[in-house]
């Protein structure tokens, strides 16, 4: 299934792009996808533990079951204010 992955803040610089599209196997969880992303963009690997994950506009945990056309976002800890 087709998943859009967006990077925000310095994650976009580390990935070298603001967005990519990945083909994920059926039954793929958000955590599985995160592993696929850090394999493809290894400069994000050391930040794995502090990475925040969202699907659409909601935060999700690694066990979230992805669906076709989900919009996933990866970003570092937020710093508003």
């Amino acid at each position: 299934m087709r998943i859009t992955v967006a990077f925000y803040s310095y994650f976009a610089e580390l990935a070298g792009c603001a967005e990519t599209i990945l083909e994920a196997p059926p039954g793929c969880s958000l955590g599985d996808l995160h592993e696929m992303v850090v394999c493809r963009f290894p400069r994000l690997a050391p930040l794995r533990r502090s990475t925040l994950l969202a699907v659409g506009v909601e935060y999700q945990l690694g066990d979230y079951q992805l669906r076709e056309d989900d919009q996933v976002s990866l970003f570092p800890p937020v710093q508003g204010g």
Binding site: A6, Y8, S9, Y10, L52, A54, V57, E58, Y59, S73, F75, P76, V78, Q79, G80, G81
Partner: protein, 129 residues
């Protein structure tokens, strides 16, 4: 509860937004927080901060925070303005105003909202020399 969220690349017009009267006869407390860009950060000089955001998610997350705020405190209104883009040192990057019947709930809600924003709302900043 009246609610308003503004994300803007323009300077926050603090003076224009400050009212000189309570918006309602039941309001006894107006708490305002202004966050300004500090010119010194961990020892170094900073000319400005560059703010970026995942805007759709910012709006959704603030919407959820406003819901929780209303459920927890008898707030009359909440207004948030957050600047994006380049904000020079000493300029406001954040303006929050809460009106409520009494000061206890106004202070509590204002601090809670800012703490939660800093935990959940996808905005980032980068120092510019």
């Amino acid at each position: 509860m009246r609610r308003q969220l503004t994300l803007t690349c323009d300077p926050i017009e603090v003076t224009r937004m400050t009212s000189s009267r309570a918006p309602d006869r039941g309001v006894g407390a107006i708490v305002t927080f202004i966050g300004t860009v500090r010119g010194e950060e961990s020892g170094g000089e900073i000319a400005a901060l560059e703010y970026t955001a995942f805007q759709a998610m910012v709006e959704h997350q603030f919407g959820q925070l406003f819901e929780a705020l209303e459920a927890r405190w008898p707030i009359h209104s909440v207004q948030v303005v957050h600047r994006l883009g380049r904000v020079a040192a000493t300029e406001p990057s954040l303006w929050v105003q809460i009106t409520a019947p009494h000061r206890g709930e106004a202070f509590a809600a204002c601090q809670w909202l800012i703490d939660e924003m800093k935990r959940l709302v996808p905005i980032w900043k980068k120092p510019l020399a």
